[in-house]
């Protein structure tokens, strides 16, 4: 048997027509590329409604910005289309919304906010190998379960607390070690009690004496008892870890009772890095420090977003910045995957080195789903504004510490 390897004119023509067809197809697609559906999960009703609405603002702004800049270029300028799911502040809500979004053929999901919701939602998404970018959820269990689809862009509990302790020592040392004694105030839920336990063990090793550890429930209606106990102990430093409402209450009560420690150093606090608190209670908020998620104050995009939100009377909280960055991170992965295919997006996320986000992080690098480039920063409320005081690479102000009496 011989194989005819010569090319007839006819076969060349045929191939030419076929090739022309292949070339022409993308041109047709370019005219009307199918949008890429991405799921946004946030708790916009229930106990976490405020945070959820903030997260949604960030995601919507990012999608708008990406589409305005020409969509996903490797897909011929395909637009991102949002499929929104309200998780109603419960893990069950998270699961059922993931099921719905998976049924609507989204390519990936961003969001979740609270740790229990993220735990349930990422697991539900893993059944469909649906890439899931956790926006906030600090519990380290979220990424320690070995779910291949789960990526957390922001720092988790372990990173934040280690960093918070380290930064505290540095800030204190730089000021000539004014603080030696500490009172811990924490909410008795997941993050507050975990954090308090860790601080009780770690602070003495770093030369601080923990005078007392005061816990309170969430929600708490009155913090005067806590404030009185703080006054009785008279610590140099108060370290609160509570949610928004309780910390605002505590700060106001301390202000009313003229309890003035050398510093209030919050960790992952819901209020101390929140413009709403600063705007509504400027005196109570003044000089409070926090170690938390925060946007990069030198990033032009971040400043533009802040300006836009300020003009609308909305607040630029960290949820906005994290969800904005999370959606950008996903868009970058879709761009590089050049496909709305879930497995390809997961592969693209795994090798992501994305650095066009608006957070004070370096390039993204996922190790077991955790972005190891992520880190919290220290902020301080100064003259009615929130400034980054540490680390110096991102700082736009110097720490006011110890706080003048």
């Amino acid at each position: 048997m011989t194989i005819d390897t010569t090319l007839s004119r006819r076969s060349v023509l045929k191939a030419g027509v076929a090739a022309a067809g292949v070339v022409a197809m993308p041109a047709y697609l370019r005219a009307q590329p199918a949008p890429v559906k991405i799921g946004i999960l946030q708790p916009v009703t229930g106990a976490l409604a405020f945070d959820g609405q903030q997260g949604l603002i960030g995601a919507e702004m990012a999608i708008k910005a990406i589409n305005a800049a020409g969509g996903i270029k490797s897909l011929g300028g395909a637009k991102l289309e949002m499929a929104f799911g309200d998780v109603r502040s419960t893990p069950e809500g998270g699961t059922s919304e993931v099921e719905r979004l998976a049924g609507e053929n989204v390519s990936a999901i961003v969001g979740g906010f609270a740790s229990p919701i993220c735990l349930a939602a990422t697991q539900a998404a893993s059944r469909y190998d649906l890439p899931y970018i956790v926006d906030v959820g600090v519990s380290d269990q979220i990424v320690n379960r070995g779910l291949k689809n789960t990526f957390r862009f922001a720092p988790g509990f372990g990173i934040v607390t280690a960093q918070a302790l380290e930064n505290l020592v540095k800030i204190n040392d730089a000021a000539g070690k004014p603080a030696k004694t500490v009172v811990l105030v924490h909410e008795d839920g997941l993050f507050g009690s975990g954090l308090a336990k860790l601080l009780q063990a770690e602070l003495p090793k770093r030369g601080f004496e923990v005078l007392d550890t005061l816990s309170h429930p969430t929600p708490a209606r009155d913090m005067s008892n806590i404030a009185l106990q703080i006054r009785a102990k008279n610590p140099d430093l108060v370290i609160p870890s509570s949610y928004y409402g309780e910390f605002v209450l505590l700060a106001r009560t301390m202000q009313q009772q003229r309890i003035k420690p050398k510093g209030i150093y919050a960790i992952l606090n819901g209020a101390a890095s929140n413009y709403r608190f600063v705007k509504e209670f400027p005196e109570a908020a003044e000089n409070v420090m926090d170690c938390n998620h925060w946007y990069d104050p030198r990033n032009a995009t971040a400043l533009a977003i802040k300006k836009e939100l300020d003009a609308q009377g909305k607040f630029f909280t960290y949820n906005v910045a994290l969800n904005y960055s999370g959606v950008l991170l996903l868009a970058d992965a879709i761009e590089r995957a050049a496909s709305p295919d879930r497995a390809k997006i997961i592969a693209a996320l795994e090798t992501s080195t994305f650095d066009k986000h608006i957070m004070p992080y370096g390039p993204t690098k996922f190790v077991n789903g955790q972005n190891t480039g992520a880190a919290p920063v220290n902020t301080q409320v100064q003259k009615g504004d929130i400034k980054v005081i540490y680390p110096d690479a991102f700082a736009d102000a110097k720490a006011i510490y110890p706080v003048p009496a």
Partner: protein
């Protein structure tokens, strides 16, 4: 009532529902059904004590949580097989029911006092589970994701659905047999007039104790299944007031002291919620608002629940006295 008339409709409903995954295989729907069936189970448990026995508990979360934490902790802390842990957790839940029942019925607590005591027990459990390192404190418990039939974890939502449905049907059969038994008659007698029942020689204490134990066991099944399905729980999920409320709403909406009431109530409520969410789309919370309105309407105008409405409608149509 012949056994066929007593048990036939239950089996028929079970068979009809069981065929659902073959027609509507959407996981969204199956997931919603599983959740509704979990609530139905908890509600069926509540219905034994509250519906038949007239002892209104506001704290069935205590039993739900025992079941949930029991199965989760036995697996994660002691490496017990998932099925054995499930059974042990149900036993634990019924033991909690027996203990709470003994303490409160012994002291002669009735009506709102009993309701308050059960509420208090559930809250105490919630606070303990939230603080105790053994239960994982506020971080909760995470059952390891390991999708194998041996670990009671399935890739298909349909399997979970069939198991949940099987449990609900089994409990309906138990409910019916209780209804037809002497024990059931005593229980209803206590609901109607406890003092009269006592005067007629019913050992009210022992009957109530049996009822709360059975009731707690069924609600614990619901909790254990919840844990096995979601693989994560914390104190607010397991012992939180939400499940106490769901467990008593479903029978009240569906029909107190009936076999079908809790199941119809739970499925009905969830479907109304899901449908509104689908219709109303992105208006946040609209489903909750409608849910609330419906509840007010039901409680104001249809005290006997959906089953009561159906019975009345049948009586009017066929002119017979139902």
């Amino acid at each position: 009532m012949s056994p066929l008339r007593a048990y036939g409709p239950i089996l028929l409903l079970g068979a009809a529902l069981a065929s659902m995954p073959f027609f509507a295989a959407s996981n969204t729907l199956l997931n919603a059904m599983v959740l509704a069936l979990v609530i139905a189970l908890a509600a069926q448990g509540w219905n034994i004590l509250g519906g038949y026995g007239g002892q209104f508990s506001f704290g069935h979360a205590a039993f739900f949580g025992m079941g949930a934490y029991g199965t989760a902790l036995l697996q994660t802390r002691f490496g017990v097989n998932a099925y054995a842990a499930f059974a042990a957790a149900v036993a634990l839940g019924s033991a909690a029911g027996l203990a709470i029942g003994y303490l409160s019925f012994r002291s002669g607590l009735r009506g709102s006092y009993f309701a308050l005591v059960t509420l208090a027990f559930a809250e105490v459990f919630r606070i303990l589970a939230n603080a105790w390192p053994f239960t994982g404190g506020a971080a909760g418990v995470l059952i390891k994701l390991d999708v194998r039939a041996e670990t009671f974890q399935f890739a298909s939502r349909a399997v979970y659905f069939w198991i949940a449905l099987g449990l609900v049907v089994a409990v309906m059969l138990i409910n019916r047999s209780v209804e037809r038994s002497r024990f059931g008659a005593w229980l209803v007698a206590i609901r109607e007039n406890e003092d009269a029942a006592k005067a007629l020689g019913v050992d009210t204490f022992s009957v109530k104790l049996k009822a709360i134990t059975l009731s707690a066991a069924i609600t614990a099944i619901s909790g254990a299944f919840y844990a096995q399905y979601f693989l994560f729980l914390d104190a607010n999920i397991a012992f939180g007031p939400w499940i106490s409320v769901e467990a008593l709403l479903a029978p009240i909406i569906g029909g107190l002291g009936t076999v079908f009431g809790p199941v119809i109530g739970a499925l009905g409520l969830h479907f109304v919620a899901e449908i509104t969410r689908a219709v109303a789309g992105r208006v946040p919370g609209i489903d909750l608002a409608l849910y609330g309105t419906l509840l007010v309407v039901m409680v104001a105008f249809a005290r006997d629940g959906i089953i009561g409405l159906l019975t009345k409608a049948r009586a009017r149509l066929f002119g017979s006295r139902a």
